[in-house]
Each structure stands twice: as structure tokens, then as C-alpha cells.
């Protein structure tokens, strides 16, 4: 057992922190807090990170990484979250799956671009009838020999409006059991026939419906083998599911600093003695959430089979998030109700936005119910119905 980072991991963490402290400017933060996706400041930041091989530390050097561990990858996500860098960066999430199952041509074409922050991917999983039941994906890709023609619809695809490529899970065989007829395509988002239409959550996050109308996709854009898409998606989702808590740590620190420093609030801790107890518990939970996320990442370094570790990380961190922002709202009382542009808003009103936004985290990326199901079935081997 060892809770220390390796010297290489520490060095990477130090270099990354120094970079982010210097380079994350108010423009980047404003874009992140707007929840509208990757903007020009964010793009500039990740490009600079890519130049310094800071974006994909666990990737091989030939693709722009540093051949470090998945723990280092976790450090990247955590520090980006802490410094309010752009999120999500799904190219980084699917990178390992691409490395495992992609053709040499695909790896050459995409991996370096992702690691250099020059190209972005957007996940294309969810459909109106395929949420938790992802295997029910219906968007249809018909094999025409040297290309596929794709028709159908995706929804809640959050990165598509700024991505270069759509990581598309689609049905290539409607005759077999659902999960055996799926394939993953890498689709150029600028392909004729693709329409991206915005949707907004109650916290103002931009996501999208994506319509495919007779979209021609070259067969070289198929990932791996036809009808093996479920396996590939599973591999990608396992890693994507790990929730990194850098942003929660940051918000916690911001709130505590605020309570300590702001004149209006000098008395609030004295007036509400429960605050200290709640904050102590939240601090503990954030720390544990971080450990759980690293523990899940460590599975990838050990090369063992992921069982339920990423599900637990996701479940724990998402429920903590909701609890934390609820407590923050209660601490601020009526002031917490004020939204961003109110004159009296403490902390620029981010508390109320984070509170509203926190709802989706137990739903996206696999709902809490699904995570508990995975933990019960795979973790505990409880019987299937």
C-alpha cells in the first residue's frame, strides 16, 4: 500500500499546477462557469497545454503524452477542475479506447491532435429511447461497402457544438440481440447531413440534439470491428465514469475563504454553529472522493479488470456534490438565492447556479441507480433478476 505519488507523478503535478496557476485567466473561468462548452479562451489554454505535453500524460510519447500512469491522467483532470479549466474534454476520455481498438491510421490521425489540444471529440451515446438502456441505440448505420450511410437522432450530446469529431455509437445490425449489433464511428461533425440543435438545462448548461440525415461516413472511420461497439463503449465508459473532484475542492476552498474574509459574514459562523460540523464532514467526503477516483484509475495501471470501482467513484462524488451545494445554500440563506448578476450576490452567485446544476450529476454519465446496480451485480455478485 502506498498513498504517495511517484516522483514522476509529483513532478507532473507540480508542473501542471504552476502552468494552470499562470495560464488560467478570467476568460477561461468565465467560459467554464457559463456552462456553454469550450470557447476561444479554453481552446487557447488546452492548445498551450498540448504544446507542453500536459494534456494526456498517460499516453505514449509518440502520441504527445508522457507515458505516465493513469494516476497522472487523474491528476490532470483533478487539477483542471480545481483551476476551473474547460470540461469535459472527451477526446482525452476516449483516447485509451482508441489506442486499444483503433487502426494505426486512426491512431495516427486523431491521437496526436487530441493530445496537442488541437482537435476535440464529442460523445455520441444517448438517444431519446436510449438513456440508461444504452443498448437500445437506434441510430442506423447501413454498410454500403466503402462507406456507411447513417440516419437517426442523438440527444443530450453535450460536446457536439464545439467538437471536431462525433464519437458515435450506432446500430449496424438490427437483427441480433441489441448489444451485439452496435458499432462506433468517428464522424466529422462538419459532414453534410448533420444538424446540431441546442438544448439547455435548468442551470444553463448547453447540450444538443444531433440529427443525422443520410450522412456518409467512410468505412475507415469505423472503430475496430463492426458490431463490437458495445465492448468498445464499455471500455470508454468505464474510464469516463470516474468522477474527479477538483472543482468541488475549489468551490469548498472558495466558500471557506469567503466565510473567513468577507465582512458581512464574520458573524455567520457564530450565528449558525452547525456550519463547522457540516464543513468538516464535507471536507472529509471530498478527500475520500478523491481517493476513490484515484483507486479507480489505479485499476487501469494495474491492468486488472475494472469491476465496480469507477461506479463507486461516480456515485460517491455526485451525491457528495449535491449535498455540498445544498449545505452551501443553507449557509448563505437568502443570499444563496441570488443569481450571478445580483448586486448583493456573494461569490458572484455561483452557489445558486452550482446548486441547480448539481441535480444532473446523479443522472449523467450513468445514473446513481445504474451505478448501484453495477455495484450490486458486479461488485457483490448479487443475483440478476
Amino acid at each position: 500500500m502506498d498513498f504517495e505519488l511517484t516522483p514522476e507523478e509529483k513532478e507532473y503535478q507540480q508542473e501542471l499546477r504552476e502552468f494552470l496557476e499562470k495560464e488560467v485567466n478570467p476568460g477561461v473561468v468565465a467560459e467554464t462557469e457559463s456552462l456553454k462548452g469550450l470557447g476561444p479562451h479554453g481552446k487557447e489554454l488546452i492548445r498551450k497545454m498540448g504544446e507542453r505535453q500536459l494534456l494526456a500524460p498517460s499516453w505514449p510519447e509518440i502520441y504527445g503524452g508522457r507515458s505516465l500512469s493513469h494516476i497522472a491522467e487523474g491528476i490532470m483532470f483533478e487539477e483542471m477542475g480545481y483551476f476551473q479549466g474547460p470540461w469535459p474534454l472527451d477526446g482525452l476520455v476516449i483516447g485509451h479506447t482508441l489506442m486499444r481498438f483503433g487502426s494505426e491510421a486512426q491512431k495516427d490521425k486523431y491521437l496526436t491532435g487530441i493530445a496537442r489540444g488541437e482537435i476535440e471529440f464529442g460523445l455520441g451515446y444517448t438517444e431519446p429511447e436510449a438513456g440508461s438502456d444504452l443498448a437500445s441505440v437506434q441510430i442506423r448505420a447501413v454498410n454500403k461497402g466503402d462507406e456507411y450511410i447513417i440516419n437517426g437522432q442523438k440527444t443530450f450530446n453535450t460536446e457536439t457544438h464545439y467538437a471536431d469529431y462525433h464519437w458515435l455509437l450506432s446500430r449496424t445490425d438490427p437483427e441480433v440481440p441489441k448489444h451485439k449489433g452496435l458499432s462506433i464511428f468517428i464522424v466529422d461533425v462538419k459532414s453534410p447531413g448533420i444538424t446540431v440543435s441546442p438544448l439547455y438545462t435548468s442551470s444553463g448548461l448547453r447540450t444538443n440534439e444531433v440529427f443525422y440525415e443520410d450522412v456518409h461516413v467512410p468505412k475507415d472511420n469505423l472503430l475496430g470491428e463492426e458490431n463490437h461497439g458495445w465492448e468498445y463503449a464499455g471500455s470508454a465508459i468505464g474510464f469516463e465514469r470516474i468522477l474527479w473532484i477538483g472543482d468541488l475542492k475549489h468551490r469548498f476552498d472558495q466558500l471557506v475563504d469567503f466565510l473567513r474574509d468577507d465582512d458581512r459574514y464574520q458573524n455567520i459562523v457564530n450565528e449558525k454553529p452547525w456550519i463547522l460540523d457540516e464543513l468538516a464532514e464535507i471536507k472529509t467526503q471530498i478527500h475520500i472522493a478523491a481517493l476513490l477516483s484515484y483507486k479507480a484509475a489505479a485499476v487501469y495501471d494495474e491492468g486488472t479488470q475494472l469491476v465496480y470501482e469507477s461506479s463507486l467513484s461516480k456515485l460517491y462524488a455526485s451525491e457528495l456534490r449535491q449535498h455540498m451545494f445544498n449545505i452551501f445554500m443553507q449557509i448563505l440563506g437568502h443570499y444563496g438565492e441570488l443569481t450571478t448578476d445580483s448586486k448583493w450576490s456573494p461569490l458572484n452567485g455561483w452557489v445558486s447556479q452550482e446548486y441547480v446544476d448539481s441535480c444532473r450529476w446523479t443522472i449523467i454519465g450513468g445514473s446513481s441507480e445504474i451505478q448501484r446496480y453495477i455495484m450490486a451485480l458486479r461488485g457483490l455478485r448479487l443475483p440478476r433478476k
Binding site: 449558525k272 443553507q330 438565492e337 443522472i363
Partner: protein, 380 residues
């Protein structure tokens, strides 16, 4: 014991529900969130014509002589409908306090106008400390010829931007306990020196900053007695807390129905998701929240309507329902999955309102403090 409504109350409920379903659709609710005034004048007048504002006023003041419990039934329906506008403020933060503490002259002056929809009221209570204790009241009222001069700032005043009158809690005396030396004034909102700024809030519910800069108010406008306003405030807060619980119960019921319907309709893995035990448990938990909230809220409203003391019951209601509603919307959102978090889904209307209601008139911990004092465990 009887936990049900009377036949008249059932009729009141169903008439109110039909009216609001027709005249206050969610599309209107969303429009009013963005609208500066925040409510349509036509709807306001229709509600007045139905006798809603004066429901619990005696007939001689233009009311219908019905009870607080009858008003509670109506408030549940307004909560269900997410009714926009100053109905709650006018009745609970203006009308009922005047009915409770006003002179005969004041009642004749204001209550009929409230009942006919011609006067909008609200209560200017909380200040920068955002607290509901007596010590938080610092806005000063200094004697001045035949009246008083008010100086200070109130925050989070609901509907001040459209109010004709503000009941303003001010400090007229500084000796002894903070509860002593508080006076409530009926303040004409158009008086010089009053400046009102709407605040942007999570529920988009038109809370305002109200600053008083040398506002001169006549002595005749004291509600209750000089320096003895705290008891007026306490009574008002008690009724407002219970009334807020009624709104919350109505909202919670809507959340429960929406969620169960979704669980029956939404198919994943080849079955309605309501087949899954996890979803069933979520729905049962929302039902628990609804029913537990109903009984305590109804008991508190019943006690108020009977003129029985209900300080502890009101505190129990507000503390319990505040948390229950939050949990209910949380579970309701969760069951709805991706669609429930979208801006244009009705769930988000209830979600945001639940948080505002939780914090109104004291949050759960504030009211549990009241209850805990009754345990006599604290060192004096």
C-alpha cells in the same frame, strides 16, 4: 379524528384547480419569470373576482368569512400551479397581519381594497443579516413631529416592486431585549425616499431591495402598538410559515403525480421504469414526503383556523416540509432522468421554488431551534 376536507373545501379545491389549470398554465408561469411586473393584471383581477384575496376576511371587510384552513386549501392549489404574482404577499404579509393587529379604522381602510384586488401588500422585514430574529431588525424609525422617519435598507422583500403598501418592521427603541422596541408601520410604497430594486433570484420570484431614505410615516400608520411590534411580526411569520407549507404541499403533490406518471410511461430495458425497485422506492419516498408534510401542515392550519396556539406545530411544519419538499423534487428530478434537468421541463420550476420556499420565513434549522428550546436542555 378526521383528516379529510369538508365538502365545501373539496369544492373550493377543485374550482381553484380548474381555474388555475386553465388560466395559469406553465407557459404563463415561465413568461412571468422573465416579465418585469411578474404577473398579468387580468389574472389578478379574476382572482379578486373569485374572492380569493378576501377569502379569510370577515364579510364586513369585503371578505368571504372563511377560515385559515380554507385559505390553506387554496394555497395548496397556488403552489401546485406555481402561481406567479403577489397573492401570497398581499394576503399573508399584509391582509392577515392587518386583520390580526389593525385598528378598526385600519381594517376598514385596507382590507376591502385588498379583497377587491385594488391594493397589493408585502412585508419588509429582513435586512442585511437576512435573519428572522428580533436582533436583525435595525432599520431605524425616529420620532418626527406627528410621525416617524424611517432610515435603512430591507432585503429580500417579495413583490415590493409592485406593492402599494409595505408593512415595515423598524426599530423604535433600543433598551432591554432586542424583542422590545420594534414597531410595524404601514408604509405607502410611493412615499418619497423609498427606492426599490428587484433582485435576481433562483426562483425568479421578484424579491427586492428596499431602501428607506428619510421616509416620513404618520403615527397613525403604526400597526399594533409602538415598541410592541415584535408580537405582530411573530404572529405574521407563524401564519406565513404555515401558509408557505401549504404552497409546498401543493407543489410536492404535483411533483409526485408527474413522477409517477413518468415512471409508468418511460420505457427502458423493455419495461416501464416504474417496474424497477429503485424507482419504486423513490416514488414511495416522495409519497412519504407528501403525506408527512400534509398531516403536519393541515394540523398547523387547523389550529390557526381554530385560534389555538400553534407555535410549536408551525415550527414543526416549516422545518419538516422545507426538507421534505427539497427531497421530493430531488427524487422527482432523479426519476425523470435526463428530461427532468432540462430548462423547459416543469420539474425545474418546482425545483427552484422548493429552495426558495425552504429558506422563506426561517429555514429548517431555524425552526428546529424553536422546537429544541421546548426541550429545556440548554444551559441558560
Amino acid at each position: 379524528m378526521n383528516f379529510g376536507l369538508s365538502e365545501e373545501q373539496e369544492m373550493l379545491r377543485s374550482a381553484a384547480r380548474d381555474f388555475l389549470t386553465d388560466k395559469c398554465p406553465k407557459k404563463l408561469v415561465r413568461e412571468m419569470e422573465q416579465d418585469e411586473q411578474g404577473y398579468p393584471a387580468k389574472l389578478w383581477q379574476q382572482m379578486a373576482d373569485l374572492g380569493w384575496m378576501g377569502l379569510a376576511f370577515p364579510e364586513k371587510y369585503g371578505g368571504s368569512d372563511m377560515s385559515f384552513l380554507d385559505l390553506a386549501v387554496l394555497l395548496e392549489e397556488t403552489g401546485r400551479a406555481c402561481l406567479p404574482g403577489p397573492f401570497f404577499s398581499t394576503v399573508l404579509l399584509g391582509g392577515l397581519p392587518i386583520l390580526d393587529a389593525g385598528t378598526e379604522e385600519q381594517k376598514r381602510e385596507y382590507l376591502p381594497r385588498i379583497a377587491s384586488g385594488k391594493a397589493i401588500f408585502t412585508l419588509a422585514l429582513t435586512e442585511a443579516s437576512a435573519g428572522y430574529d428580533a436582533a436583525s431588525i435595525q432599520l431605524s424609525a425616529t420620532p418626527d413631529n406627528n410621525g416617524f422617519t424611517l432610515n435603512g435598507t430591507k432585503l429580500f422583500v417579495s413583490d415590493a416592486h409592485v406593492a402599494d403598501y409595505l408593512l415595515c418592521a423598524a426599530r423604535t427603541g433600543d433598551r432591554g431585549k432586542p424583542e422590545d422596541g420594534i414597531t410595524v408601520f404601514i408604509v405607502d410604497a410611493s412615499l418619497p425616499g423609498i427606492s426599490i430594486t428587484p433582485l435576481k433570484t433562483i426562483a425568479r420570484d421578484k424579491k427586492c431591495e428596499v431602501s428607506f431614505n428619510r421616509v416620513r410615516v404618520p403615527g397613525a400608520n403604526i400597526l399594533g402598538k409602538l415598541d410592541e411590534g415584535w408580537s405582530v411580526i411573530q404572529k405574521a411569520l407563524e401564519m406565513a410559515s404555515v401558509a408557505k407549507c401549504c404552497e409546498m404541499v401543493g407543489g410536492m403533490q404535483a411533483v409526485l403525480e408527474m413522477t409517477v406518471e413518468h415512471a409508468k410511461q418511460r420505457v427502458q430495458f423493455g419495461v416501464a421504469i416504474g417496474t424497477f425497485q429503485a424507482i419504486q422506492h423513490h416514488c414511495a419516498n416522495i409519497l412519504t414526503a407528501v403525506d408527512s408534510s400534509k398531516v403536519i401542515t393541515h394540523e398547523a392550519a387547523w389550529k390557526i383556523s381554530r385560534g389555538l396556539p400553534c407555535t410549536e406545530t408551525a415550527a414543526m411544519a416549516k422545518s419538516w416540509v422545507s426538507e421534505a419538499y427539497r427531497q421530493a423534487v430531488k427524487l422527482g428530478t432523479q426519476v425523470h432522468g435526463g428530461v427532468g434537468i432540462m430548462e423547459d421541463h416543469d420539474m425545474s420550476l418546482y425545483f427552484r421554488r422548493a429552495k426558495a420556499a425552504e429558506l422563506a420565513f426561517g429555514d429548517a434549522r431555524f425552526h428546529r431551534k424553536t422546537i429544541s428550546r421546548g426541550l429545556n436542555l440548554q444551559a441558560v
